[in-house]
């Protein structure tokens, strides 16, 4: 039925609004945009309909199929009205329960609610979810309300009221003035003022004028235009009708890519419905205005998003841009004045008309008004479309809305504006997002794509990806763009392969700047942005590729054959030994590990395993349990025949002294002994092993394991002298006089730092963590107190807590200044501790030690929240006023960091401000010739594997020093061999990582028995088969 007049339309709209208000039956709103459908929303709809039919409730319950709501991560989702209950990731099998329990029984199904990935809090209503709560959804919000295939549904939310307002009360000039006043800028990318653009087109000479809706959305990772056209096509049509009336156009085109079939379907349907109702066509609503809309399907060329190329494409020519001016507003489609706007821009028009330019211009920043839809994709928890006021900071978008980075990884950069945009690094996270600020940062707003990357993304590789996209998508007309992008790609590809030189890097930068200048259209002029912005913020990463031939993110295949091996500080050939375990060759696997690391059984237990953090398998499943496999094969061999004694190269007569028998010292001894040197290790304590023996508690690392591995080193002829403190009985000079050619200092860091709280020196009941653990390990197993407070920022605080529990303390609290994410250790350890009854207080600052009669009585603390990042990108802590609380404690253990005790050294040695020994980073030589140092004494408290790496490096350097060879630079580890991959069965391809078997909790608290029991042979072989062998793929 055609509506004949404006008043009739107004009436029709009011009828629909009333109808919506008076509906009382439950409505199930299901999102079914392209993304929802991809995740099976159509099957859910079918299942729900069947369930309703079975119960014969067709007339009582309504199902509404809407477009995308924006929360892709939660698709397919259902909102159940009238209570607005939000269910996510619904599957067809849930249909029956939803109907029976929620719709009819008014009961909420907990498993289907959204739960925050970090806080685990569950939310019932859509608007409470952080992802939606922080948005301002003036455009996208309607997607959740209406069925896009029904014009009446659009009318029922007040749709086309803006058209009524325009036709009944506004002149064309007034409309343009309103759009100008609103400050709306083009949402397609360049950000030209929409009102000005309309004015140009309106004032251009000529009777025939056209308007075009640019829906050729081609950026990788951007899909807001699709979502709007699919979910709310009438809104775009309404904007276009208003625009056509204001500009004086009688024909309009929607240029949409054919890859968006659902968008094409919904828009076509919307156009025919609007025509039927008389909102399009001749003499609209009896006003004498004529306006037709045609759909033009594009073949999917990125360059056709450029307006002159788009016009050429509509005209039937090849989609190539031409020189502007003349701008389309003067000479556009078929040579007539033409106005082109992006989908989102058109969708903004009805809001501006309805709520007024003033209301609109209050949202946003000085130069950029309104809201903008961004598509948040990449390494982010909440993937989806977000609509936010312009001027919001990137941090808010990524952390508050996006929920942060998955897997506890570190944020690296966000790429805005698609292939023409740039990468913004973490130090600019507090940048307000608007057109000008983004441009200053070297990026663009673009159509609103935001690709978040984490520490495992290589920025050079990312630049290569975008250049590759652009060299395909450049139309090829203008030489600088076509050849320039190709040449830049060639150089970047060379860099990722490790073939490039520094000169080429300079050429790359020069090209990027010149191509930007010399190209004809926006594509070429912005094509350099990915290169320029990554060069600006991540130049070190480029340099690492060029100079060190090394990809720090462990991505570039040619430079990093397997990320696990490259992530390992000692460079163990991980893929090969995992493959050997899969083949069942455990002895060979241990020999291979011991080529680089003499402590497989120890590292299999206590290593922080950077290898697993970088395992490729971890990107789509849990990483391969590399450290547990290492432990398994080492235990297997130790239990049976013991380690093989490695071959010794030709014997040498030179002697080397090593001070300290920790992992660094023993590794150096092991490697030097293999090179043929006669090595003596001096240890001040009665046992060898350093922190391995006296630091790490036995329930994590049994003493007999440490002993077995040290014995294996002794088998090489290394001599260990215990109870031999250097400085007391012997001096460094004595050692030299005794004929030691070189000395390696690896004495570790045992001196605890003070807390800086008043009273800590005089009060009884305050002990050092390291001393405490050492005493316990050496046999003094008396409980330190009953109520313990441990102030710590390190894994040793967790160790101390669990030891206290085992010694019988009833209450053990760990007070940690930062959040769980910032703790530098494996979460499983904390989880085990909590399981054993330890309390952990995150983001808590100790304020004051409470005392009673000269003894500790408690600790007063205050909660804090995390503030802005400081220049070192560590975020400051802001105490929360009034959140003070007291922890009862009779003993305080301080674990707030240790420093080396360097009093045994004479004044010749250079010592840093942090009380660390200063060495040459490459040779580990101190400023005294022939004296080397490594491990915690140089780095401060670090991990076991880093100490082992220092020992290995020192051994090589000492060998160079004694033989008089020159230092040749540090070599990156390369695979030692290539093992044939094992053929997997179907079942084996689906294997999951087995859980580490643990000792029961009761048994744990009674003794120092080892908690993690280790894999069985069967488990280990199956787990080793999960390795996808990325080392041999090309």
């Amino acid at each position: 039925m055609k509506i004949q007049s404006i008043t009739d339309l107004k009436q029709a709209i009011e009828i629909q609004i009333q109808k919506r208000k008076s509906t009382e039956k439950p409505i199930l709103t299901i999102s079914a945009g392209t993304c929802g459908r991809a995740r099976g929303s159509l099957r859910v709809i079918k299942a729900l309909k069947n369930a309703i039919k079975k119960q014969k409730l067709e007339n009582d319950i309504k199902i509404k199929v809407t477009g995308c709501h924006g929360f892709c991560e939660a698709e397919p989702n259902i909102i159940i009205h009238p209570h607005n209950i939000f269910y996510q990731k619904v599957e067809p099998k849930n249909a029956k329960d939803i109907l029976a329990q929620t719709v009819l029984g008014n009961k909420i199904i907990d498993q289907l609610l959204y739960s925050d990935p970090s806080t685990k809090e569950r939310y019932i209503q859509e608007n409470d979810i952080p992802f939606y709560k922080h948005q301002k959804r003036i455009i996208l919000g309607d997607n959740a309300l209406i069925d896009p295939t029904d014009i009446n549904d659009y009318l029922s939310i007040g749709g086309y009221l803006s058209l009524v307002k325009v036709l009944s009360s506004m002149t064309q000039e007034e409309i343009i003035e309103a759009v100008k006043q609103s400050g709306l800028r083009g949402r397609g990318g360049a950000g030209f003022h929409t009102g000005k653009k309309w004015e140009f087109a309106r004032k251009a000479k000529g009777d025939t004028k056209y308007i075009i809706c640019n829906a050729d959305e081609g950026d990788p990772g951007a899909y807001m235009d699709r979502s709007l056209l699919e979910g709310n096509p009438h809104r775009v049509l309404e904007g276009m009708i208003i625009g056509a009336y204001a500009i004086g156009a009688e024909e309009g085109y929607i240029y949409v890519r054919d890859e968006y079939p659902l968008a094409v379907e919904h828009v076509s349907l919307a156009i025919s419905q609007a025509k039927k109702l008389g909102l399009l066509g001749k003499n609209i609503l009896g006003t004498g205005i004529n306006f037709q809309i045609h759909i033009n399907k594009g073949a999917g060329a990125f360059v056709c998003g450029e307006e002159t190329a788009l016009i050429a494409s509509i005209e039937g020519r090849k989609g190539e841009p031409r020189q502007r001016p003349p701008f389309p507003a003067m000479k556009g489609l078929w040579g007539k004045p033409t106005n082109i706007n992006n989908v989102e821009t058109w969708a903004n028009i009805p809001v501006i008309i309805e709520k007024g330019a003033d209301w609109f211009s209050k949202i946003g920043t000085n130069g950029s008004k309104g809201t903008k839809i961004f598509s948040l994709v990449g390494k982010i928890n909440n993937t989806g479309l977000v609509e936010v006021p312009i001027g919001i900071t990137l941090r808010e978008i990524i952390y508050n809305l996006g929920g942060g980075i998955p897997g506890g990884k570190k944020f690296k950069s966000v790429q805005t504006g698609g292939p023409s945009g740039g990468c913004i690094p973490d130090k600019l996270l507090d940048l307000p997002v608007d057109y000008e600020r983004l441009a200053e940062a070297g990026s663009i707003m673009g159509s609103g794509g935001m690709i978040v990357t984490d520490e495992n993304t290589c920025m050079v590789d990312l630049a290569k990806y975008f250049l590759n996209f652009l060299r395909d998508e450049s139309c090829g007309k203008c030489l600088s763009c076509r050849e320039g992008i190709q040449r830049m790609w060639e150089i970047v590809a060379d860099i990722t392969k490790g073939h490039a030189t520094m000169e080429q890097l300079y050429v790359l930068e020069e090209l990027a700047l010149k191509v930007k200048d010399a190209s004809m259209c926006g594509l070429g002029q912005t094509a350099s942005n990915p290169v320029l912005s990554t060069l600006r913020y991540f130049r070190d990463e480029y340099k690492a590729h060029v100079i060190e031939k090394w990809c720090p993110a462990l991505v570039c295949k040619r430079l990093v054959p397997s990320p696990c091996q490259d992530a390992c500080p000692v460079g163990i050939d991980v893929p090969s030994y995992i493959a050997m375990i899969a083949w069942g060759k455990f002895n060979e696997a241990v020999d291979l590990i011991r080529e680089d690391n003499p402590f497989p059984a120890i590292c299999g237990r206590v290593c922080n395993h950077p290898c697993e953090l970088n395992c490729k398998m971890g990107e789509f499943d849990k990483p391969v349990a590399i450290h547990s496999l290492k432990r398994f094969c080492a235990d297997y061999v130790l239990k049976r025949e013991g380690y093989n004694v490695p071959s010794i190269q030709s014997k040498r007569k030179e002697r080397v002294a090593i001070i300290g028998s920790g992992p660094a010292g023993l590794t150096a001894a092991y490697n030097l002994a293999r090179l043929g040197y006669r090595t003596t290790v001096f240890e001040a304590l009665p046992v060898a092993g350093g922190m391995l023996s006296v630091g790490i508690p036995a329930y994590r690392l049994p003493k007999e394991i440490v002993k077995a591995e040290i014995d294996a080193i002794l088998a090489l002829g290394v001599e260990i002298k215990t109870n031999a403190a250097i400085g007391k009985d012997l001096s460094l000079n004595d050692l030299k006089k005794k004929g030691y050619k070189a000395i390696f200092i690896a004495t570790g860091a045992y001196k605890s730092l003070k807390l800086g709280l008043p009273g800590e020196d005089v009060l009884k009941g305050i002990i050092d963590c390291v001393t405490f653990l050492k005493d316990v390990n050496l046999g003094n197993q008396k409980k330190p107190g009953d109520k313990i407070a441990i102030l710590g920022d390190d894994h040793i605080s967790v160790d101390a807590a669990r030891v206290c529990k085992r010694l019988g303390s009833s209450e053990v609290n760990i007070i940690y200044r930062r959040s769980k994410e910032e703790m530098p250790l494996d979460y499983s350890e904390i989880d085990q501790a909590i399981d054993e009854g330890v309390k952990v207080h995150y983001l808590t600052i100790p304020n004051k030690i409470l005392s009673k009669e000269g003894k500790v009585a408690g600790l007063q603390c205050i909660h804090a929240r995390v503030g802005k990042a400081d220049s070192r990108s560590r975020r400051e802590l802001i105490p929360l006023e009034g959140s003070e609380f007291t922890i009862d404690a009779d003993t305080i253990i301080r674990a707030t960091g240790q420093v080396p005790d360097l009093t045994f050294l004479n004044r010749k040695f250079e010592i840093s401000n942090w009380n660390l020994l200063v060495v040459d980073p490459y040779t580990l030589q101190t400023n005294v010739s022939g004296v080397f140092a490594g491990g915690d004494v140089v780095t401060g408290p670090a991990t076991v594997i880093e100490a082992i790496a220092a020992g290995k490096k020192a051994a090589a350097s000492i060998d160079n020093y004694i033989s008089g060879k020159k230092f040749e630079g540090y070599k990156r580890p390369k695979p030692r061999m290539q093992i044939e991959p094992i053929q997997l069965t179907k079942e084996e391809e689906e294997l999951k990582r087995p859980k580490m078997p643990l000792l029961s909790r009761n048994k744990r608290l009674q003794s120092f028995e080892e908690v993690e029991l280790g894999y069985t042979e069967k488990m280990a072989i199956r787990e080793a088969k999960r390795c996808r062998r990325c080392d041999i793929e090309e």
Binding site: A301, V303, K318, R322, Q323, P325, P326, L470, R471, D472, E473, S474, C475, G476, K477, C478, L479, S480, R482, E483, G484, I485, Q486, R487, E490, E503, Q504, V507, E510, L511, K514, V515, D517, A518, S519, M520
Partner: protein, 259 residues
């Protein structure tokens, strides 16, 4: 008339003139590759970039297709312009190191060796051939195929063209000699049946006789050379020029050839 300043020299030209033409009027030479007198400007090779001084920042545009504007200030030999031009020539030299026209250009700018991997191609994709075939001859036998790095000039589906009239204009305008005129295209006409024999000059509309005195053996034909001698350009441009401007002269000219 519009007044503007090119390299600080004042010049007045008609509205709708390109910067290239305006510079020509001042005797300022701007190098071009994809530009041709007889064709509408295309702006693809970017060799003719010039700098326009703007209020906030300067813009780089192609002189061949950018139209003059009142009071505009243009630089044609600024440092920025020359650097961009050098880059373009370096790209060209890396693409076609053996083409004389390109080598000459490079010599002029003092570029000895490109810093990129060389490719040894003939075609620089300036599009002159495609445009002359489409826009002047009105045939469209060849066109651009693909886009971006795969862009090339070709016939549809890489098949021998049915519509080519063998005028050779593509070969004539090609600045690098990438297109050579083989008489294969013309031979096709000879293979037609007797009465359907065609002559490329009659197809171009340049000659009107019905029967060829050379028995359609084009390699013996002297018309081509005679037209070129008298016009100093390819006959296809002559045909267009004469058709539009001097129809009468055209007929007398034809008569002269036929005599």
């Amino acid at each position: 008339m519009i007044t503007l300043f090119i390299d600080n020299q004042k010049v007045a030209v008609k509205e709708g003139t390109t910067l290239l033409k305006a510079s020509e009027k001042l005797g300022i030479e701007i190098p071009t590759l994809c530009y041709h007198e007889g064709l509408p400007p295309y702006g693809a090779c970017r060799l003719c970039v010039v700098e326009i001084i703007g209020e906030k920042k300067n813009r780089m545009v192609a002189a061949c297709s950018f139209l003059v504007d009142e009071g505009m200030k243009v630089l044609t030999i600024s440092d920025r312009v020359l650097k961009r031009r050098r880059m373009i020539v370096e790209f060209l030299l890396a693409r076609c190191p053996d083409i004389k026209a390109i080598r000459d250009l490079a010599d002029k700018m003092g570029i000895k060796k490109p810093r990129f991997k060389t490719k040894n191609l003939d075609c620089i994709l300036c599009g002159l051939c495609v445009r002359v075939c489409n826009e002047v001859a009105g045939i469209g036998a060849i066109g651009f195929v693909n886009r971006g790095k795969k862009l090339k000039v070709d016939t549809p589906f890489h098949l021998a063209s049915d519509v080519c009239i063998g005028c050779g204009a593509c070969s004539f305008v090609c600045p690098t000699g990438a297109i050579e005129m083989e008489l294969d295209a013309v031979k096709r006409f000879r293979e037609l049946l007797g009465i359907e024999h065609k002559c490329r000059y009659s197809l171009m509309g340049l000659v009107s006789y019905k029967v060829c005195s050379n028995n359609y053996e084009c390699w013996r034909c002297k018309v081509d050379q005679r037209i070129r001698d008298s016009l100093a350009t390819h006959p296809i441009f002559a045909a267009k020029k004469i058709k539009t401007e001097k129809v009468n002269q055209y007929f007398s000219f034809l008569k002269k050839i036929q005599e």
